[in-house]
């Protein structure tokens, strides 16, 4: 026999399930805009049915349903999409970092304009041309020295500012590394909390969302792969070595080579970190390869200008009739400068091919003609060609980074769309659910009323004959 109050209990379960479902709907609505949130849904199951025992058992329809229960609150999420999206994130991070830094280098160059190094080179050679027409004129001499100093300073400044971009990149790398280490720690903490919940059989959906969000963030910094560990914990590896191993995190360190200033990443024990994507890879490529190459190019140009100008100047005579010696000091873009005594005394500038001929500007002409001399690339290009090639290289590097970034942004966007279409909260859907659960709650309540009326009839309206 079934219990007399069986119907009330059955409907109580139905109402409880509707309430739970309504709560979950509310949670979804509340978190519709929460970053990293995945839609949750209740899994309803029937409760264990009664098999009614009785003497006349075969004659009774068997197994009476006992109602509904919420067996789980599930997170709607596709792990495969997460992996794809994180891989994209890594590439995006790598190119984004490069684009950011190369944009700064471009800003330093200020090309094409009068303000870039090429403008200074043009004015330098023009000043020597002007000098060649009036070599004994102090005004022309001073002007040539000033333009030469301006060129030297432009080299030094440009180099310093590109160097500063490199230092910026190192700072950014440091902050990214500490972010990676913090994220690893945070993931471990979540791992521990999640394990605690999983052990007692709960589904810690919101904690899982939080952890996934951290993984998304981490994937932009370095290429990670995620593996499952026991009791809901995960392992995270970078370049084949674990940075998160269940309830334990490892940290990455940065080493800077004292001579080359190149950076490298290593695990606490000194072994190198193998990374292919992520912001840190972009930054390291800027620091170790791109910027040093740019600096070398500038140095090479400055060095050739120093050598060529000095060779001519050393064969010239100054206004006092003495051999003029070198014009520039230094050997690279870092230390190029006009010889100190020349910049103080314009008479020491060498323009003449002979000691007595003060009005001879033939050596100034030779210096000016260096503009068109094929001194670079072992005699196939001029200083100007060499420099404009450099500008074009920086431009190409920067554009390549920008384009790759845009490509990965688009890919990421479509992957996010796909993930949102699965995990995102749709207000319309939630409201439909709300209506559904509200209606089923009301229906259950109505059932209880019906059962109540039946019991009322039984208790108060039955067996009252003659009363």
């Amino acid at each position: 026999m079934r219990s007399t109050f069986f119907g009330i209990e059955l409907m109580r379960r139905a109402m409880a399930a509707s309430q739970r479902a309504m709560d979950v709907t509310g949670h979804n609505v509340a978190n519709a805009e929460t970053p990293g949130y995945s839609r949750q849904r209740v899994r309803l199951e029937t409760t264990t049915p009664h098999t009614l025992a009785g003497v006349f058992r075969p004659q009774v329809a068997g197994q009476l349903g006992t109602g509904v229960q919420v067996v789980a609150i599930e997170r709607v999420r596709d792990r495969f999409l997460d992996d794809q999206l994180r891989a994209t994130n890594g590439w995006l991070g790598r190119w984004e970092a490069r684009e950011e830094m190369l944009g700064q280098v471009e800003a330093v160059l200020q090309e094409p304009s009068e303000l870039g190094l090429s403008g200074y080179m043009d004015r330098f050679f023009a000043a020597w041309q002007a000098l060649s027409t009036t070599p004994e004129d102090m005004g022309a001499r001073t002007a040539a020295i000033q333009e030469s100093e301006a060129l030297a300073q432009a080299f030094v400044m440009t180099r310093e500012r590109i160097q500063a971009v490199r230092e910026d990149a190192v700072t950014a790398l440091r902050s990214d590394l500490s972010k990676i280490n913090d994220l690893a720690d945070a993931i471990v903490e979540l791992n521990i909390e999640i394990a605690r919940a999983v052990v007692v059989g709960d589904a810690p959906n919101d904690l899982l969302d939080k952890r996934d969000l951290l993984l998304d963030e981490l994937s932009k910094l370095a290429d990670i792969s995620v593996g499952n560990a026991n009791t809901g914990m995960i392992n995270v590896t970078i370049g084949g070595r674990a940075i998160v191993l269940g309830n334990e995190a490892r940290h990455l360190d940065l080493t800077i080579d004292p001579t080359t200033l190149d950076v490298s990443l290593n695990w606490g024990d000194g072994s190198p970190v193998n990374v292919r994507t992520g912001r840190i890879v972009g930054l390291i490529s800027i620091i170790n390869d791109t910027v040093p190459l740019y600096l070398d190019t500038l140095d090479e140009l400055a060095k050739s200008i120093i050598t060529e100008v000095n060779a001519v100047h050393a064969s010239a005579y100054d206004l006092n009739g003495n051999p003029a010696g070198p014009f520039f000091t230094g050997s690279s873009a870092a230390d190029i400068a006009v010889r100190a005594d020349i910049s103080e005394d314009p008479r020491l500038l060498g323009t003449s091919a002979s000691p007595e001929a003060t009005g001879d500007g033939s050596k100034a002409v030779e210096v000016a003609q260096l503009k068109d001399k094929l001194s670079m690339h072992s005699g196939v290009s001029t200083f100007g060609d060499f420099y404009s090639e450099f500008v074009s290289k920086v431009g190409l590097d920067s554009r390549a980074a920008k384009r790759a970034k845009e490509v990965y942004e688009n890919v990421l966007e479509s992957q996010e769309d796909r993930r949102n279409s699965i995990s995102g909260v749709s207000m319309d859907e939630e409201l439909m659910n709300m209506l559904k659960y509200q209606a089923s709650y009301e229906a259950a309540a109505r059932m209880i009323t019906a059962v109540d009326e039946m019991l009322d009839r039984l208790i108060n309206g039955t067996g009252v004959v003659g009363r």
Binding site: L102, G103, E106, A107, L109, E111, P112, E114, G116, S118, G119, D122, R123, F125, A126, Q129, A130, S132, T133, T134, E136, D137, S352, A353, S354, E356, A357, T358, G359, D360, G361, S362, V365, A368, Q369, K371, D372, G384, D385, Y387, S388, E389, V391, S392, K393, V394, G395, L396, S398, R399, K402, E413, D417, S421, G424, M427, D428, L431, M432, L435
Partner: protein, 296 residues
Amino acid sequence: MMVDKAIGNVNTSYSRLLQLQAQVSSGKLVTKPSDDPHRAARAVQLRSVTSSIERYISNADEVAMWLSVTDSALDKATNMLQRARELAVRGVNGTLSADERKAVAIEIDQILEEMVQVANTRQSQRYLFGGNKTRLAPFEPLRDPATGSITSVQYHGDDGQLTVEVSVGITMEATISGQDAFAGGVNIFDALISTRDHLLSGDTQALSNVDLENLERGLEQITARRAEAGARLARVELIQQRLEQDKLSFTEHLSNTEDVDIVDAMVKLKEQEHVYQAALAVAARAVQPGLVYLLK
């Protein structure tokens, strides 16, 4: 999700709008190398070439200036020598009295003094005829201590010339050698001195035999140098014209390379404004009420 998409579209459209606005307001197609690396490199090179051409133009102007100064100095010298020859011819004529001959000799002496001044012409700190020894007066007159008249003229200059580059690898001499002009085949000063002295001593024989001949050859010598200066001046004028044309075409080239075609850019800007408006309109629709409003 729709909202995200709409925002993304509005942003993309807006950044394109900004880029076009930057192009129109700056007038530059390439504001940084990555906009178009090859174009940027080309612009850098073209600007450098334009700068060279501008410099060559002022160099050519300089050459033209020196040559015309030289020309006018030699013109003066020619006139003076012509006058000296006329005077010498008059001196050869035996009908002159001693006093008259002396007056002629004095005029020749004045011409001599002036000739030294002309030969020491200076233009902006530079002696025109001293080669590259531009700080010393190239022709130094030595005088008889008793009479103060010039007995000989010494040359202190050298053969160097002011050499100026007027095009890639093309240099021009902007001056004429004073040695060649005044003391070359014929030393003009010596010719004048001896004319004066022979006039004073009344040696008409020497006047007609030697001095007239020398003055004549001196005149030819100066005229020849003047013709040389004139020819160079003509050449430099041609170069100037060509440089001006080069400047024009390279400036145009540079402008084509890095400047925005303003009509084209304006049309694109207008277009993009419409696209942006459309994106905004779509975004406004994307934020439409869902079921939530209909349930009220």
